[in-house]
Structure formats: structure tokens, C-alpha cells
């Protein structure tokens, strides 16, 4: 029957529409709060627009801010696909970034090798930090939420100790911010801004559109290919859906869990690339924190798919910039801005889920 095909497409459309609806609802919430606070909602919208989409520099900044968020999202999403709840991305990128930075400081290589090497070292560091919780999970059945949280604290303490102590690059009378020695110029990430300008996109030099953007694009493709075009990825998704079914059908469940966990750790190791190799040029524990937890929300909104994560991380970047816009152009207090961005995320997730549930019931009805 031709009607069935049509209806199927409508569900697909509805599915795509769900996050958009969530976003619109969250904007309404934003405006209501703004009115309650006593600011004019029109001004608030203008403020957000000015800081997010008003110029190519602002749009490029959103793209730039979304890069580490994308890595965080895809790392968590990969583990989610296998049913592993990796909330240790935070610790994994602190440690992965440190290992990568060490490779950048102490190895002497030509640039075309040095850059891939620091990327691989960052991944290896992240993977290593995920390995122990992963082993504990598959051999002793220790829940990963507990171990990864603990490992976050351990990573932070370790990194603090190392940067203040043995790895400190602070000379007397220099900057007061604790940091390692400088990363060698061969390992620093160049910018793609010139390339984008050649393509006709007028991006000013100061925006960080660096090599980590290329790494992000490649990573996204590889993850998509592994998950949806390879047997290993299929099995990883299978254990995520049902551990028992997978086990009875002969999959090596523990090995799969272990590999998904460790790959997730390796992906987490990439979160710090931009800040360490493009923005700062040295390592410090002052690198942006909390990204590992943003990653959880991003993976949720992106429904654990690489493309979904792209959109979700762009959305997060937009929300962050929107917050600054409100801060700069309106008198909405800072604390209220945090509440607003938090609520917006909540609304997007909730409406997304409601629509998804609605589609499920519609489909069931149809099956009957």
C-alpha cells in the first residue's frame, strides 16, 4: 500500500522536528524568565543574536567553541552505544591532554609527524585512564559510574601535583599561573582561518578554527563508519540494546564492553586538543573543566549518533554564546543566565523524549 510509506516518512519528520520543538520551547522559557526578571524580551533576543549569529566572526566562534564539546559528546555517545555509562571523560581528557602535552614538550620531531604524534598520545592517555575502570567492570563487575567518578578526582589530583611539582615550567618572576614548560612549535596546531577566507568565509584571525576541527571531522566519520558499517560496531550497538541476547547469540560481550569503554576513553583524550595545542601552547590544570559532563548531555540530545552529536555540540556552543550575549547586552543577572541555559538544555531533552515516546506509541498502534 502506498499509504504506509508516506506515514513512515511522517514519523521520520516528527523525529527530526522533536529537538527543534524542544529548542523553540526553551526559547519561550527563556523569554518568560527574562520577563520575570524585568528585562525586555525583545532586547534579550537581540542580545543573543548579536553575540551568536550577527557576524561571520561570531558564527565561527560558535563552531570553534563546539569542537571540544563535540569530542566530549562523541566520546560519551560511543560508550552509551554499548550500554557503558562513561562519566569519566573529565578525568580521561585531563590525563590524555597531559600525556599529549608531554609528547609535545619533550619529543623532538618535524611538524608533520609531531602533530599526529601528540594526537595519538592524547588518545592513548585517555584510553589508559579508561582502562582500569573498564577492566574492573568486565572482570569484577564494579559499576563504572563509581569508578569513573573516582578516577576523575584522581586525575585532577595527579595533574595538579605534576603541574605544580615535577613538570612545572614556572620560572621565578614569570607568569603566576601554574603551568608546564612550553610545547614546541612543531607540535602546535595552526589555524585554518586563511583557508576559510579563501573559500569566501570571512573569519578573522583571532577565532580558533585550528587543526582540531579537522581531527573532529575525521573522528566523526570514523566513529560513524565503525558503529554503523562495521561488524565490531554492530556488535557494540547490539550489547547496548540487550546484553543477554548478544551473549546468547555468541558475542564476546566482555571484550566488546572493554573495547567500547577504552575507545570512549581514547576519544575523550581528544577533548583538550584545541585548548592545549591551539589556544595555550602549554598544559595547565586550568584547562576548561566540566566538558566531560557537558558531553553526557550532548550525547543524550544527539541520541548517540555522530551527526546528532554534531548538532548538539553546536547547540551547546550557541547556548553558551547566548549566555554571554545576555550578560553583555542586558541586565539579566549572571546566576539567572546559568539557570536559563540549564533549563533550555532540560527542555530540549525532555521534549525530545516526549516526542520519541509519542512516535513509539503511534508506531505500535499501526502495527496492531
Amino acid at each position: 500500500m502506498p499509504g504506509i510509506k508516506l506515514r513512515f516518512d511522517r514519523y521520520k519528520l516528527l523525529e527530526i522536528f522533536a529537538p527543534v520543538a524542544g529548542f523553540l520551547a526553551s526559547i519561550v522559557v527563556l523569554l518568560i524568565i527574562v520577563i520575570v526578571v524585568g528585562e525586555s524580551p525583545g532586547e534579550a533576543l537581540v542580545a543573543i543574536y548579536k553575540f551568536s549569529l550577527s557576524s561571520s566572526a561570531k558564527v565561527a566562534t560558535i563552531l570553534s567553541v563546539s569542537i571540544p564539546l563535540f569530542f566530549a559528546g562523541i566520546a560519551v555517545a560511543f560508550a552509551f552505544q554499548s550500554g557503558v555509562f562513561n562519566i569519566g571523560a573529565e578525568g580521561q581528557y585531563y590525563f590524555g591532554g597531559l600525556i599529549g602535552a608531554m609528547a609535545g614538550i619533550y619529543l623532538h620531531l618535524p611538524a608533520f609527524i609531531h602533530i599526529p604524534v601528540v594526537i595519538l598520545f592524547s588518545m592513548a592517555g585517555g584510553a589508559l585512564w579508561a582502562l582500569i575502570p573498564a577492566i574492573l567492570k568486565v572482570t569484577k563487575n564494579v559499576h563504572e559510574v563509581i569508578t569513573t567518578i573516582m578516577f576523575n578526582s584522581i586525575a585532577l589530583a595527579l595533574v595538579n601535583y605534576l603541574v605544580n611539582g615535577p613538570l612545572s615550567g614556572l620560572g621565578q618572576g614569570k607568569s603566576l599561573e601554574p603551568q608546564t614548560a612550553k610545547i614546541q612549535s612543531t607540535a602546535l596546531f595552526g589555524k585554518l582561518n586563511g583557508f576559510f577566507r579563501m573559500l569566501g568565509w570571512n573569519v578573522p584571525d583571532y577565532v580558533y578554527l585550528d587543526y582540531s576541527l579537522i581531527v573532529a571531522v575525521i573522528t566523526g566519520f570514523i566513529v560513524w563508519f565503525v558503529l554503523f558499517r562495521m561488524r565490531h560496531g554492530f556488535e557494540i550497538r547490539a550489547i547496548g540494546i540487550s546484553l543477554d541476547v548478544s551473549r546468547y547469540s555468541g558475542m564476546k560481550v566482555k571484550q566488546l564492553q572493554l573495547s567500547a569503554f577504552v575507545i570512549s576513553g581514547a576519544l575523550s583524550g581528544l577533548i583538550g586538543l584545541q585548548e592545549i595545542f591551539a589556544i595555550r601552547g602549554y598544559y595547565t590544570y586550568g584547562i576548561a573543566s566540566g566538558l566531560g559532563f557537558d558531553g553526557i548531555a550532548i550525547a543524550l540530545i544527539g541520541k548517540n549518533s555522530p551527526l546528532g552529536v554534531v548538532f548538539a555540540s553546536l547547540l551547546f556552543a550557541f547556548l553558551k554564546q547566548a549566555g554571554y550575549g545576555l550578560q553583555f547586552y542586558t541586565s539579566v543577572p549572571n546566576s539567572v543566565i546559568y539557570v536559563i541555559t540549564g533549563l533550555m538544555i532540560l527542555f530540549i531533552v525532555v521534549i525530545n523524549e516526549i516526542v520519541a515516546a509519542y512516535i513509539r506509541t503511534l508506531r505500535k498502534k499501526e502495527a496492531v
Partner: protein, 380 residues
């Protein structure tokens, strides 16, 4: 029917958007100067370091008829100077972004509060040669008079020496304590001066067990971890400390809480915390005020004010390094109407020490690791 409802809601929300959009704007004459300031993450409201910078802005507003844009306290004394402060949500490129947006919007003088701004400020300053930048506690190398960056540095050890002397004179035979925030060289300056000051006035404290010192942590969150400060302080009071000095930003509240509980004394930092607590809105905070003996003043407000004065009076600010010690009235200790009587018996002694430091008769060690050598040389 459902669709109709949806459309109605949409219409309503759109009309709401434009209904509120008529906020009067007094566009008579633009401000003569625009001054921007970026706090660090969660800085504003710490009743200490960052609020001292805010007090500097308020002082500018009063003196030169200015106003602080979008400030909840409605600081408004005129329209000659416009001021605006921002606060990043995370590190990374956010600090840089906020400095840049202020520069883009035509702010003439922009402050970064805290050493974390060193890198971002240097980068943005390069792109805006006509805007002047100032950083508190940050050190950016190779600056001269013509640079568009001024580093505002403090001799915290000199101020700490005075409150150390106060602690040494008023400890009633008990131990004295020091709580540092983040374990970095900057905070060790406070510790060094404090211990040296206490040793200078009180030979009994020269026994090593008499001075307790501990740091809260090794990352920036140590400056806003009041529970940790409370635990450390309680522990010190139980060990026999009678006075504890903190250099831990917003964590200091934990110390004051412990002081209230053990009925012992505490010394605040950066702002006049005794005064701030005594005039606070909520009763619980006010109750803590009488346990705050004094505060080491790090006059970030003076530094912020003086830099702005240069701009407003001369039309430009000299680049380079400004050091604020006792001589420049950049550090000191707090005397207010609440602690005046308590400090009265010793105040002349402290003042004479202050003169000795200003005259160079006492050279205060700027790190606790240097105190031992200093004591051997200077104390009998």
C-alpha cells in the same frame, strides 16, 4: 482545535516579545570614557579579592560621575564614565572572548582580574593597540611605558607582615594559624609575610609547633571551598590556635564560621571583611563579624581606581609594571568602627612597624621558605 491553540500561543508569545520592548534609553551624550572589567569564574560576590575590584569601580563612579551598567546595586552617579563588568563561565577561550568583546565595543580601559588572564589579555592587547589593558596579579613579560598593558602587582607580604604582627601580639599565648587557598607562589607570599610578622613581635612563637599552616588545594576551586576551610580551621582551633589568618578568597567564609563556633579570632583578606560581614544583610553573616579581628587589605580597589584616574586625568595610561606596597597604600590592615577598640592597645606598635617597612628598615621575606633565613639574620 489543537492547531488553533498552538497558533494562539505562538501569537501570544510574539506579542509579548514586542510588548516589553520599550525600555527608555537616555541617549543625550555618550560617556566620555568606557571602562570594562572581567572577573574570573564565579568571582563577583566573594566578599574578598574580586569584590575589592568592584569597590574600585564604585569609587571611580563616585569620583568621576560614572555608572556601572547592569549592576544589581544600581551604582549610578552620572553619565561621564560608563562601566561594565563581565564574568566567564569557563576557561579556555572564554576569558579572551570577553576581553575582546569589550575592546570591540569601544571600551577604553579594560581590566582582567586575576593571573589567569595573563595569556588572553596579552593576545587581545596585541589586536587593540588603542585600548589600554590592566591585569591584577598577572605578570606579562617585556612591557614598557608605551605598552598598552599595565600589570598591577601587590606586595602582599608587607601587608601580611602587619597582620602577622597583630596576631603575634594578640594571641594570648595560643598558637596562630594560616590557611592558604590554592597552593601557588602568590599565596606563599601571604604566608611568608604573616609568619615573619608574628615572629618579629613574639619570641614565644619561634617554637616550630606554635605556627600552623595549611593549604586547601592545588586548583582554583580552592578559592571557593568554604567547607574545606571550615574543616582546616576547626582542626587548628582544636589544636590550640587562637587566631587564624586566611588567604583563600571566598573559602574564607568557612574560617569565619569555625571562628564563631569555637569563639576564637580570625583575620580576613583583601577586602575589609570585618566591615563587610558586620554590614551584611543576613543575620548569620553579621554574627560572624565580631570574630574577625582585622583584615589584610589588598587594595585592588586602589589599584583599579588609580589606573582609571590616569586615563581620566591624562587621557592615557602608562604601560609597564605597578607595584603596590605599604608605601603606595596598596596593602595594609583594616581598622573600622567595629574593631577599633580591640586594636587600640597595639595600634601604635603596628604603626611603628609599618614605618620601619616603608623606610626599608625591615625587609619582609616574600615567601615562607625564606622566613627561616630571614629570622636568623634579623631576629635575636
Amino acid at each position: 482545535m489543537k492547531k488553533l491553540g498552538f497558533v494562539l500561543i505562538l501569537l501570544l508569545s510574539v506579542s509579548l516579545i514586542f510588548a516589553g520592548g520599550t525600555k527608555e534609553k537616555s541617549k543625550t551624550a555618550g560617556p566620555k570614557y568606557k571602562i570594562g572589567l572581567v572577573f574570573d569564574i564565579g568571582g563577583r560576590g566573594d566578599k574578598s579579592f574580586n569584590d575589592s575590584a568592584h569597590a574600585g569601580l564604585v569609587h571611580i563612579a563616585k569620583q568621576y560621575k560614572g555608572y556601572i551598567k547592569d549592576d544589581p546595586d544600581n551604582v549610578n552617579y552620572g553619565t561621564v564614565i560608563e562601566m561594565k563588568y563581565l564574568e566567564p563561565k569557563a576557561g579556555g577561550q572564554d576569558r579572551e572572548q570577553l576581553l575582546r568583546v569589550l575592546a570591540e565595543q569601544g571600551y577604553n580601559l579594560i581590566y582582567g582580574i586575576g593571573f589567569m588572564f595573563s595569556d588572553p589579555l596579552a593576545k587581545v592587547a596585541k589586536d587593540f593597540p588603542n585600548v589600554h589593558f590592566a591585569i591584577v596579579d598577572g605578570y606579562i613579560p617585556n612591557l614598557d611605558k608605551n605598552s598598552n598593558i599595565t600589570c598591577l602587582l601587590f606586595k602582599e607580604h608587607e601587608g601580611s607582615f602587619l597582620v602577622g604582627a597583630i596576631a603575634g601580639l594578640m594571641n594570648k599565648g595560643g598558637k596562630i594559624g594560616f590557611i592558604g587557598g590554592m597552593d601557588i607562589p602568590l599565596i606563599h607570599k601571604f604566608e611568608g609575610g604573616y609568619i615573619a610578622g608574628a615572629l618579629y613581635v613574639n619570641p614565644k612563637l619561634r617554637d616550630e609547633s606554635m605556627i600552623l599552616a595549611q593549604y586547601i588545594g592545588k586548583d582554583p576551586s580552592a578559592f571557593k571551598d568554604a567547607p574545606a576551610a571550615y574543616n582546616i580551621a576547626s582542626n587548628m582551633y582544636r589544636q590550640g590556635a587562637t587566631i587564624i589568618y586566611h588567604a583563600a578568597g571566598a573559602s574564607g567564609d568557612g574560617l569565619f564560621q569555625a571562628a564563631e563556633e569555637y569563639k576564637k579570632l580570625a583575620i580576613g583578606v583583601d577586602s575589609d571583611q570585618g566591615l563587610i560581614y558586620a554590614t551584611a544583610k543576613d543575620a548569620a553573616t553579621r554574627a560572624r563579624a565580631k570574630y574577625i579581628l582585622t583584615s589584610m587589605l589588598k587594595r585592588v580597589d586602589n589599584a583599579v581606581f588609580r589606573t582609571a584616574t590616569e586615563l581620566i586625568e591624562n587621557g592615557r595610561v602608562d604601560g609597564g609594571y605597578h607595584s603596590f606596597g605599604l608605601k603606595e597604600n596598596g596593602v595594609g590592615f583594616a581598622v573600622n568602627k567595629y574593631n577599633k577598640d580591640e586594636l587600640a592597645p597595639i595600634i601604635s606598635k603596628i604603626e611603628s612597624i609599618r614605618k620601619k617597612i616603608i623606610d626599608g628598615e625591615i625587609v619582609v621575606p616574600d615567601n615562607d621558605s625564606k622566613v627561616k633565613a630571614w629570622a636568623l639574620k634579623n631576629l635575636k
